[in-house]
C-alpha cells in the first residue's frame, strides 16, 4: 500500500522495476477522487472542434458550451466559425417538454446565419436522459438545408474521453466518401490526430510538401468539411495522437482500403522517423522521395542541433514529471527529454490503455512511477517524493507544479507555442529551459528549504 493513495487506486500505479508490469486502467473514475479527466462530450468536442467551417452546436444547458468556447489554440488559415460557442441553452421547460423543437429551430437559425459547410450537434448528459431524438432532428435539418447535419452521441456520463473520441470518429466517418476525389496524387496522405495548435499542422504540411507528398485532409487541425468529404481519395492515413483518431483510420481502412501509419511529430527521432516511414511507404511509387526526405531532415537538424546544445548544458540531470491526456504523447516526450539530458521519473495519462502503459514501462528508466487517471493529491505527493524539477501537463496540473516550486511546460491543447516538428523541439527546449532555470525558484519556500538542507544548514 502506498501512503496517501486511496485503496481502490493502488493498482492504477506502478513503479518500473518493482515486480512484473501490471496496471489497471480504462475504468470509470473513482467518485470523490478528483480525477483530472473530463467526459465523453469533452473527447468529442476537442477532436471535432478545429474543423473551422463547420457549425458546432452543443445541445444542452449552457455550461458545456461555455467552458469549451475557444479553449484550444487550434488555428485556421481561413474561416473561424469553430471559435464561436453555440448552444441550445436548454432551460427547465425544455427539460420537461423535450428539447427537439428548440434544437431544430436553433440549427435552422444558425445555419441560415453562418452558412456552414456542415453542422455537428453534440448531445450532452441531459439529452441522453430526456431522450431527445437528436439523429431525427439532424435528418430533418439536413433535408431542409442541404448540408450534412451530423449527430455526435457524446452524452457526458456514458464513459470517458475515449468514448467521446469514438463518437467524433463516427461523426466524421459519415462525411468521408461524399466528395470528389479526382485529381488526387497517388503520393498523398490525410493528417489525422493533429489539431493545429499554435500552427503546428502547417509545419508538418511544409515537410510533406518538400517531400513531394500531397495532403488531402487535415483531420482536424485547420480542417475543412470538403476536405474530409474527399479524404477517402488519399493513399495513406498518418495518425498522430492515435487515441483520438485511430478509430477513424480503422474505419477508413475497412471501407476504402486506406492503410495507416502511427506517427508522432514531437521530438527529434519521432519526427524524423515519421517522415521516413511515410517516404518508405511511397518509395516504390516515387523512388526520389527517400532522398528528398533525408534532405528535409538534414536541413532541419542542421538548424536545430547546434541550438539545442546550449539548452542541454543547463538542463542535464534535471528530473521531469509528465501527466497528459493520452499516453501516446508521453512516448515522444520521454525521448525528447533524453535529448535535453533530462530524466523522466513520473509519467501518467488520463486515458491510456494497457498496451500504452506496457510500452511506457518498457522505455522508462527503472524506478519510474507510471500512473493512470491520477489526481492532484497523488501528483503532488509524487512530485515531492521524486524531487521533480519540471512538470509537463495542462492547465489543471500547472498550479500543482507551481505550488511546489517546480517548473512547468504547458503541453496541452491550450498551448500557444508550436511544439511539433523540428522547430517545435527547439521551442519545447526553450520553454523547458526558461521555466526550469528561472531564478525565481530559489525564493519558493520548499526550494529554499531544500537548498538550505543541502548545505547542511537545516530548515
Amino acid at each position: 500500500m502506498e501512503q496517501g493513495i486511496l485503496a481502490e487506486r493502488q493498482d492504477q500505479i506502478h513503479r518500473t522495476g518493482e515486480g512484473p508490469f501490471e496496471l489497471a486502467c480504462n475504468r470509470d473514475s473513482l467518485a470523490g477522487a478528483v480525477s483530472q479527466r473530463a467526459c465523453v462530450f469533452c473527447g468529442s468536442r476537442v477532436v471535432l472542434y478545429p474543423i473551422a467551417d463547420a457549425l458546432h452546436l452543443v445541445h444542452g444547458p449552457i455550461g458545456c458550451a461555455v467552458y469549451t468556447w475557444d479553449i484550444r489554440g487550434a488555428l485556421s488559415s481561413g474561416p473561424e466559425l469553430h471559435r464561436l460557442s453555440f448552444s441550445t441553452d436548454l432551460q427547465e421547460k425544455d427539460v420537461i417538454f423535450g428539447g427537439e423543437k428548440k434544437l431544430k429551430a436553433a440549427l435552422l437559425e444558425l445555419i441560415a446565419r453562418y452558412q456552414p459547410k456542415a453542422a455537428f450537434v453534440y448531445a450532452t448528459c441531459i439529452v441522453g436522459i430526456i431522450g431527445d431524438d437528436v439523429a431525427a432532428v439532424c435528418r430533418d435539418v439536413t433535408a431542409a438545408t442541404g448540408i450534412p447535419v451530423i449527430p455526435v452521441q457524446s452524452e457526458g456520463f456514458k464513459g470517458n474521453k475515449r468514448e467521446g473520441y469514438t463518437a467524433a470518429c463516427k461523426a466524421m466517418f459519415t462525411l468521408t466518401g461524399t466528395g470528389d476525389v479526382s485529381g488526387i496524387s497517388p503520393i498523398s496522405v490525410n493528417i489525422l490526430g493533429d489539431f493545429n495548435l499554435a500552427g503546428e499542422i502547417w509545419i508538418i504540411r511544409d515537410y510533406f510538401k518538400r517531400m513531394g507528398v500531397e495532403v488531402v485532409a487535415n483531420i482536424t487541425g485547420d480542417g475543412r468539411v470538403d476536405d474530409i468529404r474527399r479524404a477517402n481519395g488519399a493513399a495513406l492515413n498518418v495518425v498522430q495522437c492515435s487515441g483520438s483518431t485511430m478509430e477513424l483510420a480503422k474505419m477508413m481502412q475497412e471501407k476504402y482500403g486506406i492503410p495507416s501509419l502511427r506517427v508522432s511529430y514531437l521530438g527529434i527521432e519521432d519526427m524524423a522517423d515519421s517522415l521516413y516511414a511515410v517516404a518508405e511507404h511511397f518509395k516504390d511509387r516515387d523512388p526520389g522521395i527517400v532522398e528528398r526526405t533525408q534532405q528535409v531532415v538534414r536541413e532541419e537538424l542542421a538548424v536545430l542541433l547546434p541550438q539545442l546544445k546550449q539548452y542541454r548544458k543547463d538542463l542535464e540531470g534535471k528530473k521531469v514529471a509528465i501527466y497528459v491526456g493520452g499516453a501516446f504523447k508521453a512516448f515522444s516526450l520521454i525521448k525528447a527529454f533524453r535529448h535535453l539530458g533530462m530524466q523522466v521519473v513520473l509519467v501518467g495519462s488520463q486515458t491510456g490503455t494497457t498496451e500504452d502503459y506496457a510500452e511506457l514501462a518498457a522505455i522508462c528508466d527503472p524506478g519510474t512511477v507510471i500512473v493512470d487517471d491520477s489526481n492532484p493529491l497523488e501528483l503532488s505527493k509524487f512530485v515531492k517524493e521524486l524531487d521533480v524539477d519540471l512538470f509537463v501537463g495542462g492547465v489543471k496540473e500547472r498550479p500543482i507544479a507551481h505550488k511546489l516550486g517546480v517548473g512547468f511546460c504547458d503541453h496541452n491543447h491550450e498551448r500557444k507555442e508550436a511544439l511539433e516538428g523540428f522547430v517545435g523541439m527547439l521551442n519545447f527546449a526553450r520553454e523547458v529551459h526558461a521555466s526550469a532555470t528561472s531564478p525565481i525558484w530559489q525564493f519558493v519556500p520548499r526550494r529554499e528549504a531544500m537548498a538550505k538542507a543541502a548545505k547542511g544548514e537545516g530548515i
Binding site: A31, G32, C39, S87, T88, D89, I130, F157, K403
Partner: protein
C-alpha cells in the same frame, strides 16, 4: 424573460449554476466543493476557475456513469463523500447538484440523511447541499443559492449577541475581500464574511502543497452569524427566493441590509452608512481620506473620460455596480447587458443612475455576445467594460476593454484586481483613465509625452 430575439445562444454571457456554487463553497474553511453529476462538469469548472485565479481548485465529483444515471447516483454520492473525507480531511463538504442528477431525480437531502445515519460512527463533516440544475439560472444564482444554503443549514441556533457584522460580499476578487475585511476590522467589530475566498483562492507560496487551501470562513464564524448586529448583503440583483441575509433575519431577527456591490462613491457611501448604522461607530478617518482622494482623482481625470460611450456586460450584480460607477464619473453607459434573466435588473439600473443620467441605460436581459454585437454596430461604443470574454469583440470593433470581475483569462492578476470601496474604486478609476490615455497615445501620430 430573455430579451434576445434568437432561439440559439452564441458566445454566452453567463456560466452555469454549479460553477457559482463550487466557487462559493471554496470560501469556507476546510471545505471541498462536491458536484453530484458526471465527471466532466467538475473538470471543466476547475479548468475555468484555475485559469482566472491561477490557484489549485479541487472539485470532487460523484463521477456518475451510465449505470448510475439509470439506477440513481446515491451510492456514488456516498462513496465520494467518504473518499473526500479520508483523502482531504474535509470538515465541510459542499454538495451541489448538476443537470444530470436533477433530471434523474436524485433526492439529495434524503441521500445525505441516509449517509449521516449509515456512517454515524465516523467523525462526519458538515455537509451542505444546494440544488443547482444547470438548466436554470446562471452561475450567480448558483453562488447566491450556495451562500443561502450555508447560512440556512449551518446556522441552526441563536448565538450569543455580540458586536459582529455579517457581510455577504458577492462574487468579488480576493483582493476586494481583503479590503472588506480591513474595513470591518477598522470599525472594531467581529466579522463573518460569507463566503471568503480571499485566502483560499490567492495563496502565498508555501513550504508544502496544501490538500485544502487554508483560509475561508470558519464554521465558528458562520454559527455566530445569528448573534450579529446585522447583515450587509452586496449585490442589487435578486437571485434567490430567500437570500442568506433574509434567512437570518427571518429566523433569528438579524437585521439585513441589501446594498449594491460598493463601487463608486454613491454605492460606497451607502456601504459605510450601513456599517455606521449597524455598529454605531463613525467611519474611520482613514476612509474619509480615501474618499477625499477619490473625489480629487475624479476631478483630475474627469475630462479624459467625459462623454465616453461604454457597453457594460457580464454578471448582473457587477454590471449594476459598474453602471453606478461609470454614471457618476461622466461616462455614458449606453448598454447594460447580462446573460441572466433576473427580474429587477432594469429597476436596479434606474436606481443607481437616478440623478446622474437623464434616463437609465438601455438594459438587456438574457442576451449573449451575438445579441450585444448586433446592437453595438449602431451604438458606436468608445469602451467595453466587462470580463475577458468580450475581448474578441473589443478587438473586432477596435475599442479598448476595461477588464473587471470574473473571469479574467487573458490578463495576469485577475484575483488581485480591486474594485470595491473608495480604495478599490480609486484603482479602477486609474485603470479606466489609463486605458483611455493608452488608446489616445496609440492612435496619435504626435506621440505626446504629456497627456
Amino acid at each position: 424573460m430573455s430579451d434576445s430575439p434568437y432561439v440559439s445562444t452564441t458566445n454566452a454571457c453567463k456560466l452555469c449554476t454549479p460553477l457559482g456554487a463550487s466557487l462559493a463553497f471554496r470560501g469556507i474553511e476546510g471545505a471541498i466543493p462536491f458536484l453530484h453529476g458526471s465527471q466532466g462538469c467538475a473538470t471543466y469548472m476547475r479548468r475555468y476557475i484555475i485559469s482566472h485565479f491561477r490557484e489549485p481548485m479541487d472539485i470532487a465529483s460523484s463521477a456518475l456513469g451510465e449505470k448510475q444515471a439509470v439506477f440513481g447516483g446515491g451510492p456514488n454520492l456516498k462513496k465520494g463523500i467518504l473518499n473526500v473525507m479520508s483523502k482531504y480531511g474535509a470538515t465541510v463538504v459542499g454538495v451541489a447538484t448538476t443537470c444530470l442528477t436533477e433530471t434523474i431525480g436524485d433526492d439529495v437531502p434524503r441521500l445525505l440523511a441516509e449517509f449521516r445515519k449509515e456512517f454515524a460512527d465516523l467523525p462526519l463533516p458538515e455537509i451542505v447541499h444546494v440544488s443547482t440544475p444547470s438548466y436554470s439560472g446562471t452561475h450567480m444564482e448558483g453562488w447566491h443559492a450556495a451562500v443561502a444554503a450555508l447560512a440556512g443549514q449551518l446556522v441552526t441556533q441563536k448565538a450569543a449577541p455580540e458586536r459582529r457584522v455579517n457581510l455577504m460580499p458577492g462574487l468579488v476578487s480576493p483582493s476586494d475581500l481583503r479590503h472588506f475585511k480591513e474595513i470591518l476590522a477598522d470599525f472594531g467589530v467581529a466579522a463573518t464574511v460569507l463566503p471568503d475566498i480571499s485566502d483560499s483562492m490567492d495563496r502565498p507560496a508555501l513550504l508544502d502543497y496544501e490538500k485544502l487551501p487554508a483560509g475561508g470562513t470558519t464554521l465558528a464564524d458562520i454559527r455566530a452569524m445569528s448573534g450579529a448586529l446585522g447583515s450587509i448583503e452586496c449585490g442589487r440583483a435578486v437571485h434567490v427566493v430567500e437570500s442568506a441575509g433574509t434567512n437570518l433575519e427571518r429566523r433569528f431577527g438579524v437585521p439585513n441590509l441589501g446594498l449594491g456591490i460598493p463601487i463608486g462613491i454613491r454605492e460606497t457611501d451607502a456601504f459605510f452608512a450601513a456599517l455606521e448604522k449597524l455598529t454605531g461607530t463613525p467611519t474611520p478617518q482613514k476612509y474619509l481620506d480615501e474618499r477625499g482622494r477619490l473625489v480629487d482623482a475624479y476631478v483630475d481625470g474627469h475630462k479624459y473620460v467625459a462623454g465616453k460611450r461604454a457597453i457594460v456586460y457580464g454578471e448582473e450584480d457587477m454590471v449594476i455596480a459598474m453602471v453606478a460607477f461609470l454614471a457618476e464619473i461622466g461616462v455614458k453607459p449606453i448598454l447594460a447587458a447580462t446573460g441572466s434573466t433576473c427580474k429587477n435588473f432594469k429597476a436596479a439600473l434606474a436606481e443607481v443612475t437616478a440623478g446622474l443620467l437623464p434616463e437609465p441605460p438601455e438594459a438587456r436581459l438574457g442576451v449573449d455576445f451575438h445579441d450585444i454585437s448586433e446592437q453595438a454596430a449602431d451604438l458606436a461604443p468608445d469602451l467595453l467594460v466587462g470580463h475577458s470574454k468580450g475581448y474578441s469583440y473589443a478587438k473586432a470593433w477596435n475599442v479598448p476593454l476595461l477588464r473587471v470581475g470574473f473571469p479574467i483569462h487573458d490578463r495576469f492578476g485577475g484575483q488581485r484586481m480591486r474594485h470595491v470601496a473608495y480604495g478599490g474604486t480609486q484603482e479602477l478609476f486609474d485603470r479606466l483613465v489609463n486605458t483611455i490615455l493608452d488608446r489616445k497615445q496609440e492612435e496619435s501620430a504626435v506621440g505626446y509625452g504629456y497627456l
